[in-house]
Amino acid sequence: MIKLTIDGKTVHANPGDHVLDVALENGIDIPHLCHHKDLFPSGSCRMCLVQVEGAPRPQTSCGMTVQDGMVIDTKTGAIEAMRRDIVDLFVSDHPLNCVICDKNGSCDLQDNAYRYNIQETSFDFELSRPKYYDDNPFYVRDYQYCIMCGKCVRVCDEIVGANAIDFSGRGFTSIISTPFEVPLAESDCVFCGNCVQICPTAALLPRSKIGKGREWEMERRQTICGYCGVGCTVEYALKDGKIIYAQGTPDGAVNGEFLCVKGRFGWDFNSSPDRLTEPLIRKDLAYELGLTDEPWEMPKTSALKGKPKLGNFIPVSWEQAIDITATKLAGIVQKHGPDAVVGLTSARCTNEENYLFQKFMRAGVGTNNVDHCARL
């Protein structure tokens, strides 16, 4: 254990910890824009500079490992003034049109401008990279808002391993870009959107969010992703009962903030017009049961061909559907024995549902003919 003093408060840390992380854990707020606990420190935003006793110049707290007996002051007058100037520099090439910005309310730069009371830059306003890309259905890239914190590049390299983007060019006009500025679909991008998640500004935004509401109007609900078996926690932002966008949350037990393309962007099937909304009975069975007067025969063409044919069915009430189902099953069990019935439970249903389903097959129908696609 290492003991150090930050802003007069004695705190404990493990060897190898970074000062910024230790401060944040101990409730000492050091402003920062390019730091993320899961990424290697970059030190590019310069907001987390602190004064270390004995050091000739301010030190970058995000990349500085703790030393025993360190005495750190995070808010000297000189450092606060410098931070204010740095925000001033950031907003000198970042439009402060927060009122129409979709990031309004969740923008780290906005928070810092508020904190340091900056309404506009005191230098010359000059956009360094006014480039806008809307080249995929998942997210847009609006580089006028980019502050070059490099978190997107780092997450793409250090976490996702896709290396779709990198810094290109140099200096004032440098920009984060795909190779040869090709559309993302032609790059190595895997559209996981983790860059969108950790972008501190409106440079990267989910396409589904644009113009769909302000951050504070949205309700947030967490659940577990329904795709693969990793079990990621996903947070959905909703407005008026509709999902606006999905994102990871630092609370995620297994995934932290990170998600993949399906988890982050693949939720829109849920509101597809194809969703089943009422119980259906196939027309031949319906005719047999006297629910329709038209005789009908199941076509021979493969079920794989063409669109799903709702026309082969007629809607019924739940009571009817349950009754028909139970009657039919009971009839078959009575006639052919319980082992004539098989059941497929689901790797996409809940534990409770699986439990109930197999209980039905075993204790209800009386067969062990229950399986699911674990093997497939």
Binding site: N163, A164, D166, F167, T178, R207
Partner: protein
């Protein structure tokens, strides 16, 4: 302020991306550096040396063959001054803007050449004869101001002398001793 509008997107139907094997001369360069993680800049230098610039196709082949992410190749190639992405003219004219040359008014030489050649910095004349560039310092400060044409350094330039030298080169390249106007 540009309004963000969502345009309808075309489906990404796979149209085929034929990966032709790299040409022999490129393979010869790449083969020297296989398995070397630190080789990227050196490879790019050799490619530029061979082709005169960095052709996109060759960069893509380099990334594929040597296992570098394409984004890294592009990022590195755009970082360093030396690399260029379009074919240079026959003569690469570089005006030094080092301190000594600057104090010796090399800026005027550059302006003069820009005006006479009708191109801006880092551009190539339509006849592919001259590419005009600047260079940070060639270390020939005692001879300031200097201009470097391809590998040849010319000392104590003036705007007029520089332009004369270029006209001379153009005439020579056009195969007559006469200076064409």
């Amino acid at each position: 302020m540009e309004l963000k509008t969502k345009k309808p997107l075309k489906k990404q139907v796979y149209l085929g991306k034929p990966h032709e094997p790299p040409p022999a001369e490129l393979m010869a360069i790449l083969d020297k550096f296989r398995g070397r993680k630190d080789a990227l800049i050196t490879v790019l230098e050799e490619i530029q040396h061979h082709y005169g610039y960095l052709p996109r196709q060759q960069l893509e082949a380099t990334a594929r063959e040597l296992g570098f992410p394409m984004s890294q190749v592009f990022g590195v190639a755009t970082f360093y001054n030396l690399f260029q992405f379009s074919a240079p003219g026959r003569y690469q004219v570089r005006v030094c803007k080092g301190t000594a040359c600057y104090v010796g008014h090399s800026g005027e030489i550059l302006e003069h050449l820009k005006e006479k050649l009708g191109i801006d910095e880092d551009e190539t004349t339509p006849d592919k004869m001259f590419t005009l560039q600047t260079v940070a310092c060639v270390g020939a400060c005692s001879l300031a101001p200097v201009m470097v044409v391809n590998d040849r350094t010319s000392a104590r330039m003036t705007p007029e002398k520089a332009w004369d030298a270029l006209e001379h080169l153009r005439a020579e390249a056009n195969g007559n001793g006469e200076v064409s106007r």
